[in-house]
Symmetry: C2
Subunit: 231 residues, 2 copies
C-alpha cells in the first residue's frame, strides 16, 4: 500500500470503486456519508479524499459534495490509478494503453542502454537472457516471469533516464497480468526468447540500433498478441 493507516484502507476501497466505474463519473459523495459507511472519522475521510483529488479523480466543492470527475481527467500515469484500473473493469483498455506505451518507450530505452549501461548491467542482462532461455524451455512460467520482469527493469534503468526507469513497476504489472490471466502461450515462444538474447547481446556490444530493433520486435509482438487475445 502506498499510503499507511486508515486513510490508506479507505483509499483502497474508494479508488478501485471509482476506477471500475462502480461509482460513476458525476456521482456525488458527501464526507458525512463516507464517515458512516466506513466507520472512520472526518480526519481520515478528508485525507483520503485529498489524495484522490491530487489524482484528479474527484473534486470537492462546497455546498455540493465530492464529485467524481470523468475518467479523461484522471492522472493516468499515477501508479495507483494504473493498478486500480488493471484490477477492475477497465483492464482491457488499460492493457492496450500500456502496450502502446511500451512500444514507444522500451525500444528507446534499449537504444540508450546500449550506450549508457554499466558493466554490471551488461553482465546481469546476459545472465538473465540465459535464464530466460532455460526457464522457457522448462516451461517454468513463474520463474520465467520473474526474470522477464527483471530483464525489462534493467534495460529501463540502464537507459539512464529516470522517467524510463520509473516505468519498471508498470511494465512489471503488465507482464504479471499477462501471465496471471493466461494471455500468454503455455510455453514462452522461442522466438521471443531469442529476441531477448539479441537485446542483451546488442546492449553488451553497444549496438544501439540493433538493441532498439530487437526490443521493438519484442514489445510490438506482445502488443499484437494482446490485441488478438482481447478481441
Amino acid at each position: 500500500m502506498e499510503i499507511q493507516g486508515l486513510p490508506g484502507q479507505l483509499l483502497a476501497e474508494l479508488g478501485p470503486a471509482i476506477a471500475s466505474g462502480e461509482i460513476p463519473a458525476g456521482a456525488v459523495l458527501r464526507t458525512e456519508e463516507l464517515e458512516q459507511r466506513f466507520r472512520v472519522s472526518r480526519t481520515v475521510v478528508r485525507e483520503a479524499v485529498r489524495v484522490l483529488e491530487s489524482m484528479r479523480m474527484v473534486a470537492p466543492r462546497r455546498r455540493v459534495g465530492i464529485t467524481v470527475r470523468p475518467k479523461a481527467e484522471w492522472d493516468v500515469f499515477d501508479p495507483l490509478v494504473i493498478r486500480w484500473r488493471l484490477a477492475g473493469a477497465d483492464r482491457a483498455a488499460q492493457l492496450r494503453s500500456l502496450g502502446s506505451l511500451r512500444v514507444a518507450v522500451e525500444p528507446a530505452a534499449a537504444a540508450l542502454a546500449a550506450v549508457h549501461a554499466s558493466d554490471d548491467d551488461r553482465r546481469e542482462l546476459s545472465a538473465l537472457a540465459v535464464e530466460l532461455t532455460v526457464t522457457a524451455r522448462a516451461a517454468d512460467l513463474e520463474t520465467f516471469l520473474e526474470h522477464d520482469i527483471a530483464f525489462h527493469a534493467i534495460v529501463l534503468r540502464a537507459s539512464g533516464n529516470e522517467m524510463f526507469a520509473h516505468l519498471k513497476d508498470t511494465v512489471g504489472a503488465v507482464l504479471t497480468g499477462r501471465t496471471e490471466h493466461r494471455l500468454m502461450p503455455h510455453q514462452p515462444r522461442p522466438y521471443a526468447v531469442q529476441l531477448h538474447r539479441e537485446v542483451a547481446e546488442a546492449i553488451c556490444a553497444g549496438d544501439a540500433e540493433l538493441a532498439e530493433r530487437a526490443m521493438r520486435t519484442i514489445v510490438a509482438g506482445a502488443l499484437e498478441e494482446l490485441n488478438a487475445t482481447l478481441d
Copy 2:
C-alpha cells in the same frame, strides 16, 4: 493549483522546496514545526503531507517524523513533481528526461494519429501547420509557441491513446520553458516548421510511417538542440 485551499498553498511551498533540494533527502520534518512555520492547523499540515506521501516524496514515521525520501523514489510522472522540478534547480535534468520521453512517445503518437485521427483533428492540424508557418516567418514567438503546443497536443490526443494524450500538458510545459528561457532560436527554424507541415500532411494522408519519421526528426532535433544549449 491542483489542490484547493490551505493544504494546496502549503503544498506549493513544500513541494518546490523539496524538489529543488532546499530540503534535502533524509531531512526530517515534524508536524508541529510545519504548523508553526506556516501558521496553519494540524489538519492542513496532515493533508498536505498525505499528498506528498502519495507522490512518494516523503514518508511519515511514528516517533521519528516526516522524512524526505531520495529523489530516485519520487513519482517522476506526477505533473506536480514535473512542474516543481522544472521550476527549480533540477530544471536541466528534468528537461533532458522529458526530451528523451518525447523522442520515444511523440513519433509513436504521430504514427497512431495517422490511423486514428478524426476529420476534425486532421483539419485542425492542417490549419495549425499553416499558422506555424506564418507566425514563424513573422517571428511572433508568443503566438508560435501557442500554436506549437496546440499542434503537439492534437497529435497526442488523436493517437487515441489516453496515456499519450495526458502528456499534453507536460509537452506544453517543455515547449513553454524552452521559449521562456531563450533556449530557442530567435526565429523558429524554417526546417522545423517544414517538418510540422510534413507531419500534418502525413497524418491527413494516413501515412503512419512518414508521420512517425517526420515527428521523430522534430523531437530528436529539439533534444539535440537542448543538449547543446545545456552543456
